[in-house]
């Protein structure tokens, strides 16, 4: 009955569903439904819509260096820097991001902009509700991206914010930077001045194994240790 066994499986599912319940999918209506509208909790590392962070005093972190635009593989970021007004500066440094635009028709949410950013100005939230009716609407500007006075991401009217969605939006473990290196286990590589949405450091990485492997690789390459100290 090898060929017909599959029919029994599908019929059983049709009649009884799974052991854990009738269905494995959720009914997600984007906030337009009633009690049945369930949004699955996002994994802590999920990549969503970007936010442009600010310091605790309200200054923008972005310095308009365009590193994010340079590293972006989808070429979806457009940045123009401008000199700060000395009397009323927008960011602590010399320059600030005068224009900051992300085209979400192109963005692939790889988070390389987040890794490239020297001031931790750009991070990603967990929001994924993008709905455009024309191409111009797909380009988010500073008006949508910059966080509010409390450091929280803006709640755009078409987004479906739920409990816990705004947590862990500002700090992120980098894959190629100190925060993601096994040797920096338990060390948050983020300043997170606002103290909001900061992600707790991840534990459990096999530190000794990573160090040993790295040392072996360095030895094989005949390279000297050029890893600088971080934080």
């Amino acid at each position: 009955m090898g060929y017909l066994g599959g029919f029994a499986v599908t019929l059983k599912k049709y009649l009884h569903g799974t052991d854990s319940g009738r269905v494995v999918t959720r009914e997600y209506l984007g906030g337009q439904g009633g009690d049945e509208d369930q949004k699955r909790p996002k994994p802590p590392r999920s990549h969503g819509r970007h936010v442009l962070n600010r310091y605790e005093d309200g200054m923008e972190k972005c310095i308009g260096c365009e590193l994010c635009a340079g590293v972006c593989p989808a070429r979806c970021i457009y940045v123009r820097g401008a000199d700060n007004d000395p009397d009323e500066p927008t960011s602590p440094g010399e320059r600030y991001g005068f224009v900051y635009e992300i085209n979400y028709l192109r963005c692939i949410h790889c988070d390389m902009c987040v890794e490239a950013c020297p001031t931790e100005a750009i991070t990603e939230s967990k929001l994924f509700e993008f709905s455009f009716t024309n191409r111009a609407d797909a380009i988010y500007t500073k008006a949508e991206l910059v966080v509010d006075d409390d450091g929280r991401p803006q709640r755009l009217p078409w987004e479906d914010w739920r409990e816990g969605d705004d947590e862990m939006t500002s700090a992120w473990m980098r894959a190629t930077a100190p925060g993601g290196d096994a040797r920096f286990e338990g060390i948050v590589a983020w300043s997170a001045e606002l103290g909001y949405g900061v992600r707790a450091p991840e534990g459990g990485q096999p530190l000794e194994a990573a160090q040993a492997a790295e040392a072996a690789a360095r030895h094989a390459a005949g390279d000297h240790d050029d890893h600088g100290g971080h934080h």
Partner: protein, 401 residues
């Protein structure tokens, strides 16, 4: 009146206004019924597949999501209609209709109700007239079904060819090869039914099967199984949906189609599923035949109810196939068609024919059947041996060069 018209329907023996009105009514009702049932079928398929895959399925538009098809239809209707630059404009526009119209026409010969008890021949009384509960009953009945389903191949073939693009072309090449090969198996299993019924007319085929004495039993279950498999292939439904294999051919023959023209293909596909199920019910499961009981109005409605119930069983079966079986590889498909279904169909037909002839001539049917089976087995063995020898010689020839 004209004997040709009278052959289509007893109603047309003396044509007058009322007769024409009834015919028009039948056409309109059949058309509307088919459209509505396609809508229902799309919803049904999505819901059943969702249940089998532990998903929810459409549930937003209307109660239980039953208006989802309508919403999708409206969306497709208002989408941009694209014509690829390399497409052949006329053929590209013609193809969807070539596959839709035959799907409609097949349903014309299906008896959807009528009183088949005794020798009443499915005649119903509407508005004081005698007529049949089918739009037309031509003498060629089942041949008409085969002819129409063959024309539908052109729709798929021309759609792929006229798109001027790779994937559609591959899809349509597969389509024509697949549909033509399985048409043979379909026809051979059909022969068993025709042998048993002695008529091509769908009305008489149904009349020949009383309440439970279906052709399914009378022909042995084998032709039914062959017909079901070949019909699935003919409909391009999973596991035989190589024509539009999404994982390898994008959308297959309808890759370049959008908007309403895509919707027409979609409509034709689901309509074909319904009409082919109806053909199976008519041929093998006695169509509207079934136990009759209750008051007069119930007795009038019961045949249609039996028909719809049997139809639903097959629609469920097709959906069940889809959610259970993985797609066949192309060579497996051809092997199944040419090396299994066609020989099996042919052999079974010969066996049934022998038993029938033996019965007519007064021989012992069991002995005659056994003789034919032994003869066919011998022939198969001989063929196998011949093939093996030919292969060995070819291999030897290769080795010498």
């Amino acid at each position: 009146m004209s004997p040709v018209l009278a052959a289509l329907d007893p109603l047309l023996e003396n044509v007058d206004g009322a007769a024409i009105l009834i015919v028009l009514l039948k056409v309109v009702v059949a058309f509307a019924l088919l459209m509505v049932s396609v809508m229902a079928m799309v919803w049904f398929e999505r819901k059943v597949v969702a249940d089998m895959q532990n998903r929810i399925g459409p549930n937003i538009a209307g109660p239980f999501g039953i208006l989802q098809t309508l919403a999708d239809g409206i969306k497709l209707f208002f989408k941009e209609d694209l014509l690829p630059r390399k497409a052949d404009p006329l053929t590209f526009r013609l193809a969807p209709y070539l596959s839709l119209i035959p799907a409609f026409l097949v349903f014309v010969v299906i008896p959807v109700g009528g009183d088949f008890r005794g020798d009443r021949g499915g005649v119903v009384h509407w508005f004081g007239r005698d007529t049949l509960a089918q739009v037309a009953d031509p003498h060629v009945g089942i041949l008409f079904v085969l002819a129409m389903s063959s024309i539908a191949v052109y729709g798929v073939m021309l759609a792929g060819w006229s798109s001027g693009s790779k994937y559609p072309l591959l899809g349509s090449v597969r389509a024509s090869a697949q549909m033509v090969s399985y048409e043979a198996a379909l026809g051979l299993s059909l022969l068993a039914v025709l042998l048993n019924s002695g008529s091509l007319s769908t009305n008489e085929i149904v009349a020949g099967q009383s309440v439970w004495q279906w052709n399914l039993w009378a022909t042995g279950v084998v032709p039914f199984v062959i017909f079901l498999i070949a019909a699935t292939a003919e409909l391009n439904r999973p596991p035989f949906d190589l024509v539009e294999a999404e994982q390898e051919l994008v959308g297959g023959f309808h890759t370049e189609y959008s908007s309403l023209r895509f919707a027409l293909f979609f409509l034709a596909e689901f309509m074909n599923t319904i009409t082919m199920s109806a053909v199976i019910v008519t041929l093998f499961l006695g169509g509207p035949n079934g136990p009759s009981f209750g008051p007069g109005w119930l007795q009038a409605l019961l045949p249609t109810a039996w028909f719809l119930l049997k139809l639903l069983a097959f629609l469920f079966t097709f959906v069940w196939f889809r959610s259970t079986l993985p797609r066949l590889r192309y060579d497996q498909l051809m092997d199944l068609g040419w090396k299994l279904l066609i020989p099996l169909g042919l052999g079974w037909f010969l066996l049934l024919a022998t038993i029938k002839v033996a019965g007519d001539a007064g021989w012992n049917p069991a002995v005659a059947g056994a003789v034919v089976v032994v003869l066919m087995a011998l022939a198969a063995l001989g063929l196998r041996g011949a093939l093996r020898t030919a292969r060995a010689r070819a291999a030897a020839g290769e080795a010498m060069h």
